[in-house]
Amino acid sequence: MKPTHIQTTADDHRIAKLAAFAIALHMIEAVIPSPLPGVKPGIANIVTLYVLTQYGFATAAWVSILRVFASSLLLGQFLSPTFALSLSGAIISLLMLWLAMHLPKKYFSVVSLSILAAFAHIAGQLLIVRLWLIPHASVSYLIPIFAIAALFFGLINGLITAKLIYNKTPNAESNKPEIPSI
C-alpha cells in the first residue's frame, strides 16, 4: 500500500505553531480559579489578536477555532456545554473582529479590536446560555458583571497585544526608551 503524503505548506506550520501557543495559554487559564463561572481573562485571545494583525484574518480564524477544539479535547470538554460556550464565543468574536478590522487604523489600535472582541465573546456565550442552557431571564442579572469583565480583560489583553506588536516592529529599536522595560 502506498503511504499517503499530506503536503503541508509554511502557512500550515505557522498556524499549528501559533495555535499551540494559544492552546498553552488556554491550559494555563483553565487551572486559574474564577470567582464567577464565565468570568475569565481569555489570555488565549492575545494570540488571536496578534495573529490577526500580523498574518491576517484567515490565519487568526484558523488559530482561534483550532484552539477551541484542541483545548476542549485536552480538558475533556469536547461537545460539552463548556465547549459549546467556548465555540460560540470564539465564532461571534471572530465575526466582530472581521467587521472591526476595517476600522481606520489611524484611530483604532488593536486595543479597540480586543475590547470589541471581548464584548462579542460574552454576547455569543450569553446567547447559548439563554437559548439552550438556562432559558430563563434571571441570567440577565449577571450581564452587567460580564460586561465589566469584558471591558477590563479586553483592555488588558489589547494592551498586551499592542506591546507585543510594538516589540515585534523592526524600527521599534530606534525609538525605544532607554529604560529597559522587560
Binding site: 431571564a137 452587567p144 499592542a162
Partner: protein, 132 residues
C-alpha cells in the same frame, strides 16, 4: 515585565482616539446595563397564590394580616410598610417563615406543603419567576 508602571504609562500612550471612544462607549453601555437590569424596583403589590389559583392581590401600602386557609392549615401573612412576609405557617419546615420580609419587586416566598406563595409585584412586572 518588572517595570510595571513604565509599561503601563507606555501602554496608555499607545491608545488612539478611537480606542478612547470605544472605552468610553463601553463604560456607557455598562452603566446602562446596570441601570436597566439591576434596577431594584420598589414593589407596590403582593400577590398571594393558593394552589394553582391567584388567591388575592393586596397593595403593600397598608398594615394588614391576611389569613389564608391552605390544605394543611391556616397561614398568616403580614403586610406592613411596603413589605410582606409569612408570619405563621402550619408547615413543619417553616422555610417560608424563615425567608423573612420580601421587599423588592420579583421576590417570592413559597410554602410548598401548604401550597401558598407570595410574590411582590412592581409597577411593571419584570419577569415571572413562579411560572418557571
Amino acid at each position: 515585565m518588572l517595570n510595571l508602571p513604565h509599561n503601563l504609562k507606555h501602554a496608555i500612550k499607545t491608545l488612539r482616539l478611537g480606542d478612547w471612544l470605544i472605552v468610553a462607549g463601553s463604560i456607557i453601555v455598562i452603566i446602562y446595563l446596570f441601570q436597566t437590569l439591576w434596577s431594584s424596583e420598589h414593589a407596590t403589590k403582593v400577590q398571594i397564590r393558593l394552589g394553582d389559583k391567584i388567591y388575592a392581590t393586596y397593595t403593600l401600602n397598608q398594615q394588614r394580616d391576611v389569613h389564608v386557609h391552605g390544605p394543611i392549615g391556616t397561614a398568616v401573612i403580614n403586610i406592613a410598610q411596603g413589605r410582606a412576609r409569612f408570619s405563621k405557617s402550619p408547615c413543619h419546615n417553616q422555610y417560608c417563615v424563615h425567608q423573612g420580609w420580601l421587599t423588592r419587586a420579583g421576590q417570592a416566598a413559597i410554602c410548598l406543603p401548604n401550597q401558598i406563595s407570595l410574590e411582590l409585584i412592581g409597577e411593571n412586572k419584570p419577569y415571572d419567576s413562579l411560572n418557571y
